[in-house]
Symmetry: C2
């Protein structure tokens, strides 16, 4: 374990490891969920927690530059008073470097994009120990191959990310929250699709299925209708928000939406969204002592409700306990499969379910992972998703940028 | 010259050329401006004009899939009645495949992003003649390296793009145009920066410098004040637009903005924007018989006005005639350097100016090319921009994906 304190020091470590062909595993906060940071071939863990300086905040450029170990909450605190915020919100207080490495996203992607759309440039250390800045600080560029996007989502397998310049967004004037339940997943999803088509700039659109609502009710002592439920957020001026919410309410009405609860004041908004914030932990409490295996399918919006319906039928047919949460605007949903960690049969059943789910997502024109990444666990699906030829291209890229396979070996690309 | 009609046929052509190591140059509509399609090492031109089918429009997914030769106007026509539109607008009626290959952008990038943010997946033919789809149809994915973004902006040097799935956006309810002049470039640019910081969702923010306005006045018989002038577009509901315009007017007032002209009706909007639409041709008429060399610097917003001021001083000091147009929201501006095509000295002076401009943009933290690409003419600047180590990474990528250098050789990466 090496705690690096600068890009130069990181380059020194990489050169030393490269000489001895010792594997290097970058580490941010460890919040990734696909085994990204497991040292399956041993090696040196390069911990970025001491590279935690916010190097620059440039309000006129709407950008900031941070060291890789800066966390999301730390950056938010540094931005206080600027009127700007960093939008990517994967839930955990992840490091910015880790979020770049996994191409993180989260609940407000529908409006502000994933990490990929919010990274301006990176400083990376290559396999030779060279230090490369992947792009200038301009908001756009056509100057050669897109090195930034090659490293974004590379999961530490092509180099180490030591600094990142990221986009900031203006704090919205105000925000509002709404919660509305539906007779079916399809009704909920169709409402969101129609809203997007009509240009309602939803800031968040989260779906909790009926089972998740049941979990939330038990956990938070709420009495929400146990139906598929949307948690929505609107941002803008008060007038804009009211117009958006009115349109959303009309759309929901057409699709059989139940009582449209809505809140403008911060504390009311927070209360309304509490079930969503607690959903994951509420799910874990559905069966005492259970652990979860969380899936991450993402499909085109038109396929989302059918894919969720089929997945729920699969869950029932196999007697699994697996509440579903979705980032509906992106077509991304997570099944939280609850298992007894000591029961191998339950683990195998969850794994088999996960395989069927990935196959279903791919049949729907989607992907095996919307935001969690490949890591160790999704490598087996890469060829199904991209074909042998696509994987060959990725392997050629890996060989080109990391010929001795020193960066996070055994992840992303099956060697 | 080969007119391909399908991806399979394209793969056949690539395999045939690869066997004989004959260069392959993809061709869309020829609207690129950096010599991208010149066959500097001879070879076969693969013309995509007959691959011109719109394969699918999926309103629920807000995506369309097209063959590479479909042009922007053709796609717009196909989208009529869907309530959706394709946002990337580089001016010319370029092919979608060409726009992907050059990473095109244009006037409404400030709101909708460049081609990079609007491409979902691509079908490409690799150097081996393999057919690869770079990603699924999901709106986001973390499943391995970002092949889509490797090919987007690769300028035909890594493979041939035969199909593209692209994002569509809801047609805004209505639009409004505004024109306002300023005492200085800085005042104009600062107004746009403040508007963006305050969350005004400008759809377009174009700057014409005083000389461009003079050219427009002469060309279009208008009588605009010959001062730096912003051409703005607002979109949304009528109420939203009015709120945006009111805020923009206040901001402009603070910065000494002249009469704020504003139009809501389509014909008035069109009249107000006519000078912008005719600006390039008006510039060419400033000196009869001249040709233009167009630059493409892009810098962080905070550096934009200083960079333009210094550039205007440079233009004056060297006795050049070079009106300036800028996509202010992106930090991108073009100098239209007018020269007598038969006068070698003028050509050399324009080239020298272009070199100084690129050096200035890089000093400002910017890029040698915001949207036109590298092609033949910007290769000389790649190392200044990315360093020897950055260029080495790009070269490694080129060697990995096109080991025999058959795709558009002599472009982007100096071999």
């Amino acid at each position: 374990m090496v705690f690096v304190q600068s890009t130069q020091e990181t380059a020194f470590v990489v050169r030393a490891c490269a000489e001895e062909r010792v594997p290097i595993i970058g580490f941010g906060t460890g919040s990734s969920v696909e085994g990204h940071v497991l040292a399956v071939h041993g090696g040196v863990c390069v911990d970025f927690s001491q590279m935690n300086k916010v190097l620059a905040i440039r309000p006129s450029d709407l950008t900031a530059t941070v060291e890789a170990g800066v966390t999301r909450h730390q950056l938010s605190a540094a931005l206080a008073g600027t009127g700007l915020f960093f939008s990517v919100d994967p839930g955990a207080d992840a490091s910015i470097g880790g979020m770049v490495a996994t191409g993180a996203s989260g609940t407000n992607t529908v409006r502000y994009g994933t990490m990929r759309e919010n990274v301006v440039n990176l400083t990376v250390v290559t396999a030779k120990g060279d230090i490369v800045r992947t792009a200038s600080r301009a908001r756009k560029s056509s100057a050669g191959y897109n090195l930034t996007q090659i490293y974004c989502g590379s999961e530490g397998t092509l180099g180490l990310i030591t600094e990142a310049s990221i986009r900031l967004h203006p704090q919205p004037e105000t925000a509002a929250a709404a919660v509305v339940n539906f007779p079916s997943v399809r009704a909920a999803v169709d409402s969101v699709i129609e809203a997007i088509q009509l240009g309602v700039p939803l800031a968040r659109a989260e779906l909790l299925d009926a089972l998740t609502i049941r979990a939330v009710n038990a956990h938070s002592r709420t009495s929400l209708f146990e139906r598929p439920t949307l948690f929505l957020e609107f941002v803008g001026s008060k007038a804009q928000i009211e117009a958006q919410a009115a349109l959303m309410r009309e759309i929901a009405d057409v699709h059989g939406g139940g009582s449209f609860e809505w809140a403008l004041h911060p504390e009311d908004r927070s209360r309304l969204w509490t079930p969503r914030h607690h959903a994951y932990f509420a799910c874990l409490q559905l069966r005492a002592g259970s652990r979860s295996i969380t899936t991450d399918a993402c499909v085109p919006l038109s396929e989302l409700s059918a894919c969720i319906d089929e997945t729920q039928a699969d869950i029932q047919a196999h007697g699994l306990l697996a509440p579903i949460l979705g980032h509906v605007g992106d077509g991304n949903f997570h099944c939280v499969v609850l298992i007894d960690p000591l029961d191998a049969a339950q683990y195998d059943a969850a794994e088999a379910f996960s395989r069927r789910l990935v196959a279903r997502a791919l049949r729907c024109g989607g992907t095996s992972t919307g935001e969690h990444g490949v890591g160790l666990h999704k490598m087996r699906y890469l060829q199904d998703e991209h074909g042998a030829e696509g994987v060959a291209l990725m392997r050629a890229l890996k060989h080109a940028l990391d010929p001795d396979d020193i960066f996070n070996p055994g992840k992303v690309i099956p060697v």
